[in-house]
Symmetry: C2
Subunit: 491 residues, 2 copies
């Protein structure tokens, strides 16, 4: 973030001018700086007091100018932090609504793209834009390492022995306590720990389906789940999903007789970033309850919201125990720990039996460390900081894409999560773009991999988990050049 320097503007101190004119002049000046990208989204403006002092303008004039800019939607006040530049909404291209006519509605992609995309996961000299997780630098590395050392001192056996079947008790108690934030009312006994969120999803799927059953999923949606369903020999029905309101519930209603379960990401669909409105969440839960169909709720991004309050979960509307909520710390605390859990509602006995079969117990040391970290109250403070960073980065990436990418690019406007979903010119094959980008040491997630549907071939997902640096900006500029070359080549 860069502070507005005195040199970057040439504010004329109020002399003969009326205060009214002065504040308008100040407004126009700052507008100009935002317009020519001298001030970028996320940049912090000087505090009212210091700006007033530096420029010799009264505090009330600066305040009036800032308020005016806030009303215009150009800047925003953040509690206890000051004023920041907002992106200009008119410069962001709206994302197209979900295509009602999806090609190949039941098709499953079986290509090897995920292996190519993720084979360099731990490599350092690559601009990593394929991940949907925050960068390590945003995570409380030192505090977690200290907590692990503390766990080793406190624990009886350092996690060498088998943990209880349902998982680390302290961790489960803390998850139950935190569930209060999203409307939950749980105890440790309602929770089963797992290896990350995907193992939770797998256990829940096995618990509620039989061979050959059909599961409804969002499209576009979490791409790995398509392969999970394939591996579990389940069929899928794809539900068109809107970039703002999530899955099309009217469409879902028409296929209810054919499905055994739903697996949705109601808060911050990956890759769309859409968050279902509360009314939709309630409607979804009620509709499924009427037909006794379980809903597996992937809530892994639930804590990564950019707004003021945590979105409610579908689970909080669940009266019949039919919602199985799954989550993890992979997007908030430690992706590499693989600590996840599920709240399987009335299917808890089945899920426990499946856990005994597949993993017997969760890894002790990492689960105990997360439990202890939650307990010491370090989580809430960390999450507040993390959300601010992700929200800021999301703006910065959006603005850079708007600046460098071709004019017909469409960008999602997520209210949470760690990624942007980007629609490119139809001439662009995102698999080809992925390969060209890799030659330039830039790793992106191509649309066909994410949505397992050929109609998303000209889409890409860009992770916004890394702080926005010069290197990232250069990477996006290079990506823009590659895209333009591909479009020009196709003409």
């Amino acid at each position: 973030m860069k502070e507005l320097s005195v040199e970057s503007g040439t504010i004329v101190p109020g002399g003969g001018l009326e205060t009214d004119f002065l504040y308008i002049q100040l407004c126009e000046k700052i507008k100009g700086l935002i317009g020519n990208f001298t001030l970028k989204p996320g940049d912090k403006l000087p505090s009212i007091r210091s700006f007033s002092k530096e420029q010799g303008i009264s505090i009330s004039t600066v305040y009036k100018a800032y308020s005016e800019l806030e009303v215009m939607g150009l800047i925003e006040a953040r509690t206890k932090s000051g004023y920041y530049v907002k992106p200009k909404p008119r410069r962001l291209y709206p994302m197209a609504k979900a295509l009602k006519e999806l090609t190949d509605m039941g098709a499953i992609s079986a290509d090897e793209m995920p292996t190519e995309v993720y084979k360099n996961l731990a490599e350092e000299n690559i601009i990593q834009l394929s991940l949907s997780a925050p960068a390590i630098g945003l995570l409380p590395k030192t505090k977690l390492n200290k907590t692990m050392a503390e766990m080793l001192r406190r624990s009886n056996d350092g996690g060498i022995g088998y943990d209880g079947i349902q998982g680390n008790e302290l961790l489960r108690k803390e998850i139950a306590r935190h569930s209060f934030n999203w409307g939950g009312c749980l105890t440790a006994d309602d929770i089963v720990t797992t290896q990350g969120c995907v193992e939770a999803l797998v256990f829940c799927l096995i618990a509620v389906t039989n061979p050959g059953d059909t599961v409804a999923i969002e499209t576009p949606g979490f791409f790995r789940i398509v392969n999970v369903l394939k591996n579990l020999r389940l069929k899928i029905i794809k539900i068109p999903t809107d970039p703002e309101t999530g899955p099309d519930l009217n469409y879902l209603r028409t296929v209810l007789p054919n499905i055994k379960a739903c697996l949705f990401t109601p808060s911050f669909n990956n890759p769309l970033g859409s968050c279902m409105p509360d009314t939709h969440k309630k409607q979804l839960v009620d509709m499924l309850a009427d037909h006794d169909i379980p809903l597996i709720e992937d809530d892994v991004f639930g804590e990564c919201y950019f707004g003021k309050v945590r979105p409610r979960t579908c689970k909080s509307y669940d009266k019949k125990g039919l919602v199985l909520l799954c989550s993890s710390v992979s997007k908030t605390l430690a992706p590499g720990y693989r600590v996840g859990w599920c709240l399987p509602g009335k299917f808890i006995k089945e899920v426990i039996q499946i856990k005994i079969t597949h993993s017997l117990a969760s890894p002790g040391p990492t689960h105990a460390t997360v439990g202890l970290f939650f307990k010491t109250g370090r989580l809430d403070l960390h999450l507040r900081k993390l959300r601010r960073s992700l929200s800021l980065q999301c703006l910065q990436y959006s603005q850079a894409i708007t600046k460098y990418f071709p004019k017909d690019t469409q960008i999602s406007k997520p209210n949470g999560g760690c990624f942007l979903w980007i629609r490119l010119n139809e001439a662009v094959d995102s698999n080809e773009l992925f390969r060209k980008a890799m030659e330039n040491k830039i790793c992106i997630a191509p649309g066909s991999m994410l949505a397992a549907d050929t109609c998303f071939i000209n889409y890409i997902r860009l992770g916004i988990g890394n702080p926005f640096t010069r290197t990232i900006e250069d990477g996006l500029e290079t990506l823009a050049r590659l895209i333009k070359e591909m479009i020009a080549g196709k003409k």
Copy 2:
């Protein structure tokens, strides 16, 4: 272990007696002490030097007596450790050969027994005889905790970030290095890490089968795999398995046209403890190679051998990349860490893709810790100690069962592993015995759960991972009483 005290025998020091008579007298005395259980299997005898000094007998007389007892099979010399009491082989009842006519050959048990058996996994005031893993006390807890602290200091991020897709590189290098012990010739690139051995088995099964395929497994055999196969919607064919030589290869040959893969535990079948002779291993690999059928080799107990050399693996005979070896540190180092791996041969690309789908990466801190532990050379020393303890405990448990259980009990004679497989009188329902034992705070694994076959209803598996203490002996005595009551009740 208890030392033979001077009080426990009344050896008359050599006065007027001839040396020859004296050594015979000494022999008879010690035989008597073994016979009346004053000296139990595994008890250490005094050293030749100290015994000679204490009793005023010449060293050569003591040596002659000990040698005589060794020839008689009553005691054994262990390198650099001294002389120990052996179990009397004639008191061990031989295990019946595998039943050729298994009931219900394709049936899968779906009962809830595993949940009941494992729900108290981490509870401390239960005599835990249901597990097939060494007790925590036999594991290098302090050294592992130190290694984890060292890992935290050395590592860039303490394992918070995603590990590479194939898993921790140091760990894979060390696994490759250790594979030399069983005839392997591998590099780190041949290995994929997993969450324990079962996740490795699951990944391999998904890699080599399609929905509805049939997999051959041993019976009795690793019980959790039956549920895994069910969850993966695979069919099974059970291969009768001999307590000494393992799966019946002639029987297997007859079903080859019907199967897509084999999943066996060639070294120390759980629960039988049988180790296939090398000739059988080679024959199995060759037979399957002729039909291009993959063999998933569960080698999780491979390092828990009681003999002088590590059993070879089927993988070491594999020329076509058709053997997928799976293992973990759960039986040797840290059950609670859930660190496993597989060597998927020519299916490595498929396994990596499946890992990306199901877990993306392995938990960083535990995997890095095990890699570091292997590297520091602490493993070999630890394994030597562990094998001695398990072998001793196996003898001690066997002897106690022989002492307390009814005369018609049959006990397996494993050459490795962490368990005994016990055939009880046909009047005994092991599920009922499990429940009665739990009322007495003793946890056992009933046969029907383990073998998923009603013909094993009167069998139980007893874990020998806990050091043989007075409490354990009391537990076995109580178990024996319950068994006798059940038999009496049925008459």
